[in-house]
């Protein structure tokens, strides 16, 4: 109980005190929308998980995420959790349950500012690490036990990059591109029929986990902004039975800066 109280007190202290001595100057005026962001997205999703079947399954896959980002003197740190789930991903009259979870953290360093069509643009680039979990359970059994399911798990190191194009004091166009470079991958394998290892080191050639987003952000107040964006998420794992999924999403983000 003592530790829990200390932990909660520390959290409260962290969120209510913007100037922590070890964090550099948080009052530095930057364009990066640091703070807490809540995001909801609705998207069109498609997957081909050849561990089960080569057929394409598609449908609507809502996603939810929460991001905490903090402006330090020379970089921005972010921690993002993303979750999406649907039981309605279909191939004709067959459905599958899809569950995806992502935990991503990264450091974004500011690159020199430049001008594009007479407006300033800001680029950020840095390393990121990510945990990505995919679970697919197909509803094709008639009764009793069934094991028509597969999963993939990636622990990845990669790149995170952002571009912010400032149209006015309260209006920007935000773009983001995140992708993995090297991953430790886990995938369900058929232990009865195959000696293949369920764990492998994966490079860009065999595995891609890419998120791209682009959309306008409007500042309602100095520290409160909303964003509507297009988000594209691609996952490709070819080292085992191929897994390929992609989604086109429209996401809405509410960011509170501190």
């Amino acid at each position: 109980m003592k530790y829990l109280t200390s932990f909660l007190f520390s959290l409260l202290f962290l969120f209510t005190n913007s100037d922590l001595s070890a964090q550099g100057s948080l009052k530095q005026k930057t364009i990066f929308p640091a703070g807490i962001s809540l995001e909801y997205g609705i998207g069109s999703y498609a997957v081909s998980d050849e561990y089960i079947s080569e057929e394409k399954y598609s449908g609507s896959l809502p996603c939810y995420s929460i991001t905490w980002s903090n402006q330090h003197s020379d970089y921005v740190y972010h921690l993002k959790m993303d979750f999406s789930n649907s039981s309605g991903i279909k191939n004709n009259n067959v459905t599958t349950d899809i569950f995806q979870f992502t935990l991503n953290q990264g450091f974004s360093y500011a690159l020199p500012e430049f001008t594009l069509f007479n407006n300033p643009a800001y680029l950020y680039l840095g390393p990121s690490t990510e945990l990505f979990f995919f679970f697919n359970k197909q509803n094709i059994a008639v009764s009793g036990f069934d094991y028509t399911q597969s999963f993939a798990l990636l622990f990845s190191g990669g790149i995170t990059s952002q571009i912010i194009y400032q149209l006015s004091e309260s209006f920007t166009i935000d773009g983001e591109l995140d992708f993995n470079i090297l991953s430790l991958g886990f995938r369900m394998v058929d232990m009865e029929e195959s000696d293949e290892s369920p764990v492998k080191i994966l490079t860009l050639i065999s595995t891609n986990n890419v998120v791209f987003s682009l959309g306008p952000r409007y500042y309602l107040q100095n520290n409160l902004s909303i964003k509507a964006a297009y988000l594209f998420h691609l996952t490709r794992i070819d080292s085992w039975e191929p897994l390929l999924s992609a989604s086109d999403n429209v996401v809405f983000t509410l960011t509170y800066g501190f």
């Binding site: 069109s44 999703y45 498609a46 997957v47 081909s48 050849e50 561990y51 089960i52 079947s53 080569e54 057929e55 394409k56 399954y57 598609s58 191939n91 004709n92 009259n93 067959v94 197909q138 094709i140 059994a141 008639v142 009764s143 009793g144 036990f145 069934d146 094991y147 028509t148 399911q149 597969s150 369900m188 394998v189 058929d190 009865e192 029929e193 297009y230 594209f232 691609l234 039975e241 390929l244 999924s245 992609a246 989604s247 086109d248």
Partner: protein, 335 residues
């Protein structure tokens, strides 16, 4: 100019919203029809019970070929599952390309009895924790009044070959023994032999075993080197006892000191183990057994099951009430 921006925006939006379809595409072809035909042929060639079950396999082809032709994409799995379920065989399953077993059919007696047994209720009859073998295939202990109890969960691998002698050594001074084979699914003949050999003092003829319609000449069960357990034994079975569990029951029932109680077993006597796994052109596979195992009366226990010597009905209601009537009956028999 505004119209140009509007059209440009709509085009961009359309492109954006269809990116996933450019990346994830439909397969160029599927082998659903080829898979169906190969499965039909395989069953026609090796499955031993088409006549016994009075299945007109040609008419099954006619009925399902049309459904297969009309199935789109993975709808194949639904039709294919129905097709295999026509065999009404609890051993038959299919595997998706990489997935595990999908059983299209379960014996009705299994559904009746699957909740009519609980290991947690069984534990209430013991003063102390049950022992368990390293493979977790046997759980065992001694009940009050020096009655031995063992639950066999698995006849697979070589678990019982390795571990059953040690288990039986633990029971050598008991006045009676309960063998619980409820909630059991299959395994190998060798493991059944490992169990039976501990209860016979002299060789015991094996029940009939047919392959490709021919009766195999099998050597009789041989007693194990150590002393046989000749005190009274009660075997508890129910509708979830299946396959190797049924074979074990049928053989043990032949011994004068053994009584089977409970309810008729599930009824699955087609054999072949992993060798029955047959790969279809697309990489999917089906498990179709080709061995025909029989009871001592010459009939297969497929569908028919192995009946108990004494019927003791137990339902889920008994389990909810915290009672294992079948176990209590067995204890009272051995007191």
């Amino acid at each position: 100019m505004k119209e140009i921006y509007l059209i440009f925006s709509i085009v961009c939006l359309s492109l954006f919203l269809s990116c996933k379809d450019l990346v994830v595409t439909e397969p160029e072809l599927n082998l659903n029809v080829e898979d169906f035909e190969a499965a039909w042929d395989r069953i026609n060639d090796v499955y031993p019970y088409l006549d016994f079950k009075n299945i007109n396999w040609d008419s099954i082809h006619t009925a399902y070929r049309e459904r297969i032709d009309n199935a789109k994409g993975d709808e194949f799995f639904i039709v294919f599952g129905d097709f295999l379920a026509e065999l009404k065989d609890g051993h038959v399953y299919y595997r998706t390309k990489g997935g595990g077993e999908v059983y299209p059919y379960y014996p009705q007696r299994h559904f009746k009895d699957r909740h009519a047994y609980s290991p947690f209720i069984v534990r209430k009859y013991f003063d102390k924790e049950l022992r368990i073998t390293e493979s977790k295939s046997v759980e065992y202990g001694i009940l009050p009044e020096n009655i031995g109890y063992l639950f066999i969960s698995d006849f697979h691998e070589d678990y019982l070959i390795n571990e059953f002698p040690g288990v039986m050594n633990y029971f050598k001074n008991t006045k009676g023994l309960i063998i619980d084979i409820r909630q059991k699914r299959g395994g190998g003949y060798d493991n059944v032999e490992a169990v039976v050999s501990r209860f016979i003092a002299e060789p015991l003829e094996k029940p009939p075993y047919y392959r490709d319609g021919h009766l195999l000449e099998l050597l009789p069960f041989q007693p194990a080197a150590s002393l046989a357990y000749t005190n009274p034994v009660v075997v508890i079975i129910n509708g979830s006892t299946f396959s190797a569990g049924e074979l074990c029951t049928e053989v043990l029932k032949q011994l004068p000191n053994v009584t089977a109680i409970g309810d008729t077993t599930g009824g699955g006597s087609v054999g072949s183990g992993n060798e029955g796994l047959y790969f279809l052109p697309s990489g999917k596979s089906i498990e179709i057994g080709y061995d025909d195992l029989r009871r001592y009366d010459g009939l297969p226990w497929e569908w028919l099951g192995v009946p108990p010597d004494i019927r003791v009905v137990q339902t889920e209601v008994d389990i909810i009430a915290g009672k294992d009537k079948q176990l209590e009956y067995a204890i009272n028999m051995l007191k």
